[in-house]
Structures are given as structure tokens and as C-alpha cells.
Assembly symmetry: C2
Homo-oligomer: 222 residues x 2
């Protein structure tokens, strides 16, 4: 009885599908997560993602054509970035749906993550409140160049791979919060686990830098 949808509605859905298709690939999602940290060149992204340069370039162009990322030229390299903060929201709700609904992800989370972090992670608002009271040491465990591209205001940079030899820089009695790229980035888990082994009181920030920035909370960037 109901009629088939009219033309403009169909065109509109076709356009939404174009954007969804841009996200519908493991490697592009990974590139987007990397871009959520800040602007990056093609070769850097290729290295970080483990893809060939040509392949990375093609994925990035796909993302650009669909308006998910933008690019600008700087000297002889082309820097890509997310087109819009809404993209962070989009990725985040994608994650939530996967997390809440997909049995396979549940299994992965249970097996790989939960056992590493029995303590509850701390939320954004809670962390902000405690930082304002000076009660907490916040550690950014991402690689140094990601830190310098932008980080939570007041955080100190201790990349994961330097953590063991820089433990003495960390005040011993204060509570520590570690964060990295996002809720499924493993670096903060590793850091918390290591710090606890050494007797520190460490927790993980539930979200990562992209979510923090996207929520409008205080950052320091270039």
C-alpha cells in the first residue's frame, strides 16, 4: 500500500551510503583513527598503518572524495586531516554499536582487554574535576610526535616505550591516569599494567585524546 520512496529521498540515501562506504573498510577506519590524532602526511600514515604508500594514498583519496577528510599541501607533502569534528562522533558511535552489539567484539574485549584492567577506567568529567584540584598526574603514552601535535592540557608525555626507564619522573604517591588514542588503543592498557606492577596507583582514561578534544575539554596544541 505504501508507495516506493520518491527520487530526492533515494538520492539522499545514496549519498549517505557513499559516506558509509568510505568507512566500510578496516584500513580506512584505522587511517581515520590515526588522523583523529591530528594532521599527517601520506608516508607517515602508510608507516603507521602498515599499508603500502600507494594503497594508503588511494584510501585517503577515497576518504577525501567523500568529504570525510580534507587535504592541504605543505611544501612537497600533502597533509590530511579529518574534515570535521562530527567525524569523531561518527567513529565513536560506530564503535559503540560494535561494542554493544557484536558478539565477536565482546569476545575480543573480554579476552584481551578486561583481564588487563580490572580497575574501572576514569571518565572525562571526573578526570577534569580531579585535575583542577591538582590531585592527579596525567600521562600521555602516545609517541612523542602525537603528543606534540596536541594533548590534554596539563598532561606530561611519556611514550609507552620509554615508560620503564622514566619511572622516576613520576611522583610516587599521587594517582596516575594514562591515556592514548581512544578506548581501543592498547597503549594506555599496557602502561597502566606496567605502572601497577611497579606499585603505582594507576588508572586508564576511558576515552582517548580525540574524544577529549572533540568534547571541547582543555587541550594544548600547535
Amino acid at each position: 500500500m505504501a508507495s516506493t520512496p520518491d527520487l530526492p529521498t533515494r538520492l539522499l540515501f545514496a549519498q549517505f551510503a557513499v559516506v558509509a562506504k568510505a568507512l566500510a573498510n578496516e584500513h580506512r577506519l584505522m587511517l581515520l583513527q590515526l588522523l583523529a590524532q591530528g594532521e599527517r602526511g601520506v608516508e607517515t600514515l602508510a608507516e603507521m598503518s602498515g599499508l603500502s604508500v600507494a594503497n594508503t594514498s588511494q584510501h585517503l583519496q577515497h576518504l577525501r572524495r567523500t568529504g570525510v577528510v580534507t587535504a592541504r599541501r605543505q611544501g612537497k607533502r600533502i597533509l590530511y586531516r579529518l574534515a570535521d569534528d562530527v567525524v569523531v562522533t561518527l567513529l565513536s558511535s560506530l564503535r559503540q554499536v560494535a561494542e554493544r552489539n557484536v558478539a565477536e567484539v565482546q569476545r575480543l574485549l573480554d579476552g584481551y582487554f578486561r583481564e588487563r584492567d580490572s580497575l574501572e577506567p576514569i571518565g572525562r568529567e571526573e578526570l577534569l574535576k580531579r585535575m583542577r584540584r591538582g590531585m592527579i598526574t596525567v600521562i600521555d603514552v602516545r609517541p612523542a610526535e602525537e603528543f606534540s601535535a596536541g594533548h590534554i592540557a596539563g598532561a606530561i608525555s611519556i611514550p609507552l616505550e620509554q615508560l620503564k626507564r622514566r619511572l622516576r619522573e613520576i611522583p610516587p604517591r599521587r594517582e596516575i591516569v594514562a591515556y592514548c588514542r581512544g578506548p581501543y588503543c592498547l597503549m594506555a592498557y599496557e602502561a597502566v599494567s606496567e605502572l601497577r606492577r611497579r606499585g603505582f596507583r594507576a588508572r586508564r582514561l576511558k576515552e582517548g585524546y580525540p574524544e577529549w578534544k572533540s568534547a571541547g575539554l582543555p587541550v594544548e596544541d600547535k
Copy 2:
């Protein structure tokens, strides 16, 4: 220099991609938008979307396998629904990205929508405030069965196709707000345009019923 991502991270992205792929199809997006109205059977969805029953069934199963929708049996039919309210958020941010970034969508919006509605649409909060003061008549212009599956609390049902012959039911001096399925559903545009031609003071609700419900605002449903 940076290493290629470790295995669990890759598996996780692969799982996110599975969810994204479920959305990466024009017809599945349309089915999801229809399901955002409420539970529906396969045949109904096939009719509303203009797809064959078998094709609709396969798309729905795809969506179910990926955890985006769930199904339950009722008598001899199977009713599908969105698995989770987060799915509404996901669809909504997908829309926002498309709207803000894709040139083609801009063109469509400009050509088809803008000219139909020069007055600003009214937002959710604003509408709620005015409804509480009794200042406004809210009309649901979706088909009657969508209205009865769930609607904004206090709205009256006048399906678009009955609007012309039911004008006398509408209080003449009060401001009218019409809504339908969402920001890109055309029915509310048509209704507003028709009402204005007849001398009513009519505006469009910026969002549709799914967004209203998802925001936790008052509804009446079965």
C-alpha cells in the same frame, strides 16, 4: 619507524568495519530509517522501501548478523527493530557528515529542500517549551500506522495525503508545527508548504520522530 599495528587492534578494526559495511548500502540505510520509526515486519518493510521481499529479507539478515537490528517472532511474522538507541545516533552523525561535507548532498539540499521552506525550522527544545505553554498545535504527517506505532506526546495525526480535506480540524490562529520521519523526510516540508498556502502559520520541526524519541523527550507509543 612506527611499527605496524598489533593483532588485536587489527581484529577490532575489522569488527568495526563489519558494522560500517552493514550501513554501507543505500537500501539498508533506508530500512534502518524505517526501523527507526518502530518495529516492522519484513513484508511491510519491503513495501515501504520498494524492494522485493527476498531482497529485503537478506538485507535485514545482514543487519541482524552485524548486530545493528534484532528480530523477534510474533505469530507467523518476524518483527525487526533497531538493536539499540545508539544506532539512531550513528545514523544521525552519518547524516551530519554527509550534510556538512558532501558537495552533492549540498546541491540536493539546496535544490530540493531549501526552496520549499524559507522559514527556519523549530528545534526540539523550543518546541517542547512551547507545547508546555499550550501555544502550539503539533501535527504528525506520517502515515497513520507509523503514528500509532509511536509519536510525539500531544501530537495529532494528519497523514500528508489527508491534509487537504482535514484542514478544518486544525485550529486556525495557533501556530502549527509539522514533523515526520527525520530531517530529510519530505512529508513535513510538503505539509508546511500546503498549510501556508491556506493561510496557516506553519513551521517544520527540524528533526523527526526518531531523533525526538532518541533524545528521551515525551512520546506516546504502544
